[in-house]
């Protein structure tokens, strides 16, 4: 059984800085594979640019398909970072320490990937620049600021900027550690990024204040981003299944659910890829597993309310839509898979401590949840659009094309490649937090048992 050893500072630096100061074969293989996956997106996108949006499966009335589903999915994944590093910091969950940076970087990459999707989806992405530059009313084309689609832009970019700041501020002490061990031009680069960090009392004090302030201030942004994304759908009255008041907290709960599950996947990969068994231990997976149970239950409550109140008013079109989602293939198959993978299988397995402490099991459960949550977004967006119009001759269907499948697949490559490159340049586990955790560790003897203590002041 793995236990927390007293790791010396030298060993800590060696373990956590190994990816930064060396190139392993494993790194090149991973980078190669992920680049190939990303290439799929590149090819799909290029083909779409050359041939037009007609190569996608989009058509009246289903104008939003795989790409918008993927956009919502990645915005959801981006909620992992703030959940782990901000909310758990403010609630003083000490077990979060090794995960925070990976979660925050996952947020950055997920947000960046999500932000690309509306641009790709426009079909002629240069026109999005054309509308917005040099100023947003160029050629008398004013963006409709009353539309949630425009609120999306400011929300996502605010979240991206604040998350970047959040990552950077937390990174400063570790940049100083890397600076002190680097040489040549890298020393200068890391030195510039470290902003003259010397680790004085005053610097640590300010660092602590800024970290707590950022953690608190980013929370409204965190809640608002996915709420605004949800209002892209909820504000619309013409599509069945969309106009529901519960969408905002439902989407946010779903985002936290998928985000935290994605962090579990990343944790397992970090442990296997870098050999960080001493830093990402079964107790971390246990703690995050318990968190997942609570989040999943909250999400399921919102899902149930959304479903029940969808049927509540007994409106014909809404009932027809739910009927299609539950009883008509392939939607019925998607719905069953969605419910099983997003909730029933993970929650029933996570109740067992043995499962929560099994890294392989947690890895697969994290993937399972994300499959379910991707399907959830798909089932919200596409069936409603397929039945949008009151005339049955205008009803449509949707079949994703190879270009869209390529773009969606490639997005996963982009996020993981981004994580890999980040880990190459910066320490992915916060070294200073690890040292702090060791300094603040303690033990007390109660009777015959020794129990670990944590700082409470």
């Amino acid at each position: 059984m793995e236990t927390e050893n007293n790791i010396t500072e030298k060993q800590l630096h060696k373990d956590l800085l190994a990816p930064v100061f060396g190139f392993s074969r494993r790194f090149w293989i991973a980078a190669g594979v992920l680049s190939l996956v990303l290439l799929a997106a590149g090819l799909g996108f290029t083909w779409m640019l050359i041939k037009g949006l007609g190569v996608t499966g989009l058509n009246r009335p289903v104008m939003w398909g795989f790409m918008i589903t993927n956009f919502v999915f990645w915005v959801g994944i981006s909620h992992a970072g703030v959940m782990i590093s901000s909310i758990l910091r403010l609630s003083r969950a000490e077990w979060r320490l090794p995960l925070t940076r990976a979660a925050e970087v996952l947020t950055l990459m997920a947000l960046f990937t999500a932000a690309l999707h509306p641009i790709i989806h426009s079909g002629r992405p240069w026109r999005t620049m054309y509308w917005a530059f040099p100023y947003d009313f160029s050629r008398e084309i004013w963006p409709n600021i009353r539309s949630p689609l425009i609120w999306d832009v400011s929300a996502i970019f605010t979240y991206l900027i604040s998350s970047t700041l959040f990552v950077y501020i937390a990174l400063i002490p570790d940049l100083a550690i890397v600076r002190d061990r680097a040489s040549g031009i890298f020393r200068s680069i890391y030195g510039a990024l470290a902003l003259g960090w010397r680790g004085t009392n005053r610097q640590w004090q300010l660092h602590g204040i800024v970290s707590v302030l950022l953690a608190a201030l980013i929370l409204p942004v965190f809640v608002s981003v996915h709420s605004i994304v949800s209002w892209d759908f909820a504000a619309v009255t013409s599509v069945e299944g969309w106009h529901s008041t519960i969408f905002a907290p439902y989407f946010v709960a779903g985002a936290i659910h998928s985000g935290v599950s994605a962090v579990v996947v990343v944790m397992a990969l970090m442990r296997w890829f870098y050999g960080w068994n001493n830093y990402l231990r079964p107790e971390h997976f246990d703690a995050i597993g318990k968190l997942l149970i609570a989040i999943a239950l909250g999400w399921f409550y919102f899902f149930s309310m959304e479903f029940i109140f969808g049927l509540y008013s007994l409106e014909g079109p809404e009932i027809a839509l739910r009927n299609m989602q539950i009883f008509q293939p392939p939607w019925s198959i998607f719905s069953i898979v969605f419910l099983l993978t997003a909730f029933f299988i993970p929650v029933s397995l996570l109740l067992f401590r043995r499962v929560r402490r099994n890294i392989l099991a947690m890895f697969f459960l994290g993937i399972t949840v994300n499959i379910g949550m991707w399907l959830e977004r798909f089932l919200i967006i596409v069936p409603g659009l397929a039945r949008k119009t009151p005339f049955t001759f205008d009803w449509g269907t949707y079949r994703p094309s190879i270009a869209e499948i390529g773009i969606v697949t490639g997005s996963f490559g982009l996020v993981f490649l981004g994580l890999l490159i980040f880990a190459k340049i910066f320490p992915l586990v916060p070294i200073s937090d690890q040292k702090e955790g060791q300094a603040f560790k303690g033990e007390i003897q109660i009777g015959r048992v020794k129990i670990k203590t944590t700082l409470r002041d």
Binding site: T245, I246, M305, T453, L455, R456
Partner: protein, 450 residues
């Protein structure tokens, strides 16, 4: 392996100075004066109910304030045990002094279920209105009653189970006196097996209480609010009711702890740490309150459907606007601005004052929601006209005051039946605390045996 973090019986007495137990041994003059006054106001409430009863069950608008009072009791007193159960699950150390005071509110459930029964006669059955029960063969009254009964039973079991070690240790009674009036029932010896069962039971009952409260609040908000107003389809309303209950329950707990501290002689047990924790929790819940209210409002407002605009007029912007504005100020604006300021949040008086605002705001909010819902007598698919706003008459005022007095009276009686603090948990907390020298400072460390 024996659980060495659970205190032996003898350790209770050594951990607690006798003077701290003394105030709970006998009821003083102040206690009996409070009981007397509350009993008088409660009997006014009973008189108000009898008066209302004479107007008949069919005059639904007349019962709006009665329903609002029940909703307020459900939202405050019955939500308070959830705060303790939830904090016990996440194991925050500052929660130990508030555990028992919160769980004692489960006693108010007994009053609540009696209060609830007449409401079942007032609300029409689901054949004539939309309902979340659809075509269920079991009537909604049965579902509601079962849900409330299970909730109250769960709360009382949780309270009793959590009190067992203290009852067994005869904490709070002078030496030589018999135990508390509540019979022990199960012979508690405090061996490791019993402690394990106790801890498991508290987790299971706590989780059960949370689930049942959410369920009960959801169906109550739907049956006695949403489904009385044709066309009111707001999937978020039950969740909003739950979140505002969490805010109000925390506020009630904060005020109760303050009163116990000031007049119960428990200053050494209920300290600044607890109020700091409650202040933080209140800030989070205040923000959540606004978020849930705004999420509902923006979708209804933005959609511009005529029936939804009329609903907004009914509950927000029509004749009810002054009341709604007051609710917004008391439940969000003032608490947010005050609790944002660290010196207020991290004090004792600050959270208490904010809690008084929140409780007042929640009462007005429940009046706004349920008197309005009860005043709609139209049937059909959507509401077509705004009903007149019901101003409270004498019977309504008696009912409101009687409900609040009944809650306080029941709680006071509960404090005489069981130890008012969870002494075993507080002692456990002291055992799990230690100090460590880091640099020039001595810092507090807390052990987590789980």
């Amino acid at each position: 392996m024996p659980d060495n973090t659970t205190p032996a019986k003898t350790e209770y007495r050594s951990a607690l100075a006798p003077t701290h137990i003394q105030p709970m041994n006998k009821a003083g003059k102040r206690f009996w004066l409070a009981v007397g006054l509350l009993a008088i106001v409660f009997s006014m409430g009973v008189a108000g109910f009898i008066w209302r009863w004479q107007s008949g069950w069919d005059d639904r608008p007349a019962w709006g304030y009665y329903a609002a009072t029940f909703s307020f009791l459900l939202s405050t007193a019955q939500t308070a045990p959830l705060i303790s159960a939830g904090l016990r699950l996440v194991a925050g150390p500052w929660r130990r002094p508030l555990a028992r005071p919160a769980e004692l509110f489960a006693f108010v459930g007994i009053l609540n279920i009696l209060w609830f029964i007449p409401l079942l006669k007032v609300v029409p059955d689901t054949q004539h209105r939309r309902s979340i029960w659809f075509d269920s063969p079991i009537s909604f009254q049965i579902w509601e009653t079962i849900a409330l009964a299970v909730l109250i039973s769960c709360g009382l079991c949780l309270l009793y189970m959590a009190s067992m070690p203290d009852i067994a240790a005869k904490v709070g009674k002078a030496p030589g006196k018999q135990g508390f009036p509540v019979p022990l029932g199960l012979s508690w010896r405090g061996n490791p097996h019993q402690w394990r069962i106790l801890k498991l039971g508290l987790v299971v009952l706590g989780a059960g209480y949370i689930i049942f409260l959410i369920f009960q609040q959801t169906i109550f908000a739907s049956d006695f609010g949403l489904s009385l107003v044709p066309g009111w389809k707001d999937a978020l309303f039950p969740a909003y009711h739950i979140v505002s209950s969490l805010q109000a329950g925390t506020a009630l707990l904060t005020v109760s702890l303050f009163l116990l501290r000031q007049w119960g002689g428990l200053k050494d047990y209920i300290g600044l740490d607890t109020f700091k924790g409650l202040g933080r929790l209140l800030l989070v819940l205040t923000l959540l309150w606004f978020y849930f209210w705004w999420s509902s409002f923006i979708v209804l407002w933005y959609g511009r459907r005529p029936e939804e605009q009329l609903l907004l007029q009914l509950f927000v912007s029509g004749p009810i606007r002054p009341l709604f504005t007051l609710v917004l100020i008391l439940n969000f604006v003032l608490p947010f601005l005050l609790l944002l300021w660290s010196p207020i949040r991290k004090s004792i008086a600050g959270p208490v004052i904010v809690s008084v605002f929140i409780l007042s705001g929640t009462l007005l909010d429940r009046i706004r929601l349920f008197t309005t819902a009860f005043s709609v007598t139209e049937s059909g698919e959507v509401i077509k006209t705004l009903p007149p706003t019901r101003v409270p008459d004498t019977a309504d005022i008696f009912i409101l005051m009687g409900g609040l007095a009944g809650m306080a009276l029941t709680y006071l009686v509960a404090t005489r039946l069981l130890p008012v603090l969870s002494y075993w948990e507080i002692t456990q907390g002291k055992i799990l605390e230690s100090e460590k020298q880091i640099g020039l400072r001595k810092v507090k460390m807390v052990a987590k045996p789980e």
